[in-house]
């Protein structure tokens, strides 16, 4: 069974739920475990705040589960598109009100309890890993992520091309990633 078929099966089990239906409940948990982290990642990308991303994920998954229960998902095999559409709507609303959306409780489902946490940050490891980057890589990483500067701006500041900045950046992030993985392994 491929992912779409699996998703469709989960949606059908939830939509056909009877009171105290354990299989429907399991399907809801499975759907949250699958899409909750992705919705949270969407929030981190588009809201740029970890806590608001968690709020978004919770609000989205509650809305999705309620829609599935109510039979409002037209194409169960493409529930991913429904989740994404809900993410976009919720993010838009959160940006418009410029405050946290207040998730409402839904019956029999604690979304936060079933959505896995995203990777915790180890800033000590990051510091050691940043120190191992060459100067240019470190500058590009800081300017990109800490200062939020565009590749063109970084290029003119460092006297190079935007293309070169992009190459330096993705190599530096890969090196940081490997280094942070190594630090985590060592800590175990």
């Amino acid at each position: 069974m491929d992912d779409d078929a699996e998703n469709a099966e989960l949606v059908r089990r939830i939509a056909a739920r009877e009171p105290r239906d354990a299989r429907a409940r399991e399907a809801e948990v499975a759907l949250c475990r699958r899409f909750g982290p992705r919705a949270q990642l969407y929030g981190r990308k588009h809201l740029r705040d970890g806590e608001r991303a968690r709020d978004l994920s919770q609000t989205v998954m509650i809305a999705v589960i309620e829609a599935v229960r109510a039979g409002r998902v037209e194409d169960p095999a493409r529930i991913d598109r429904f989740v994404l559409g809900t993410c976009r709507n919720v993010a838009l609303r959160m940006r418009e009100v410029d405050s946290r959306a207040q998730p409402t409780a839904t019956e029999e489902l604690d979304v936060l309890a079933v959505v896995p946490e995203v990777e915790p940050m180890d800033l000590g490891a990051l510091a050691r890993c940043l120190a191992e980057l060459d100067g240019r890589g470190r500058s590009v990483v800081f300017l990109s992520f800490n200062e939020g500067k565009a590749a063109d701006d970084i290029a003119s500041a460092l006297g190079t091309t935007a293309g070169n900045v992009r190459v330096v950046r993705h190599r530096a992030v890969a090196q940081l990633r490997r280094c942070m993985d190594d630090c985590r392994e060592t800590a175990r």
Binding site: D2, D3, R34, F35, P37, R38, L41, Y42, R44, K45, R48, G50, R78, D80, R81, V83, L84, C87, V118, E119, M121, D122, L123, G124, L126, A127, R128, L130, A131, E132, G135, R136, R138, S139, V141, F142, L143, S144, F145, N146, E147, G148, A150, A151, A157, L158, R166, R169, H170, V173, A174, L176, R177, M180
Partner: protein, 187 residues
């Protein structure tokens, strides 16, 4: 166990995505793919963790308002005022969280931009180049937030401050800063 992706999003594209270096259409396309793809979503989360961590660390250059904010949060801060070309060894002692190098003797009243390049004193290797650092025009100084993890860098560094005014004229001022990092007890 997730199934492999038939058309995975490459690392470079994911880094560009998390760097906000893609147009809106491309971001939409990646959003759609990630929402439906477990392996690519997991890989994206790995990039996001790095981007988020870098975003969360204290930048090496701060202004006075940020310094006061850090003090208000209870950080143990020692200030190290330095004049141009003064070479005085400074110790990052174990009893502080932050060492603020105050690079003084700068006329910033007409400055439109201040950039700093940090190099290794012995080799001249560029460690860090920040083309535009925060500064307070009336203060006559710029601030470097030296952090304990900088112990991983070479100890003898040179900060070259480049100020630019409205006419485009630039002036470079040099501050050699040799460091000693005191050993810390494990937490």
């Amino acid at each position: 166990m997730s199934r492999p992706c038939a058309a995975p999003i490459g690392w470079e594209a994911l880094v560009a995505y998390w760097s906000n270096d893609l147009d809106a259409g491309e971001i939409d396309r990646i959003d759609e793919h990630l929402m439906g793809c477990d392996p690519c979503s997991a890989e994206s989360a790995r990039v996001a963790a790095v981007a988020g961590a870098v975003r969360a660390v204290l930048p090496p250059f701060v202004d006075h308002a940020r310094l006061e904010g850090l003090r208000a949060r209870g950080l143990r801060i020692r200030e190290n005022p330095i004049q141009p070309d003064e070479r005085r060894v400074v110790t990052f002692s174990a009893d502080i969280d932050l060492l603020i190098h105050k690079l003084r003797g700068l006329d910033l009243t007409e400055a439109t931009n201040v950039g700093i390049a940090m190099t290794v004193e012995e080799t001249g290797e560029l460690m860090l180049a920040e083309p535009s650092v925060p500064f307070d025009r009336d203060s006559g100084e710029v601030l470097i937030a030296c952090q304990v993890h900088f112990a991983a860098y070479p100890p003898n560094v040179v900060a070259e401050v480049r100020t630019t005014d409205a006419t485009g004229a630039t002036r470079t001022t040099r501050y050699p800063i040799p460091h000693i990092y005191e050993a810390r007890r494990p937490a």
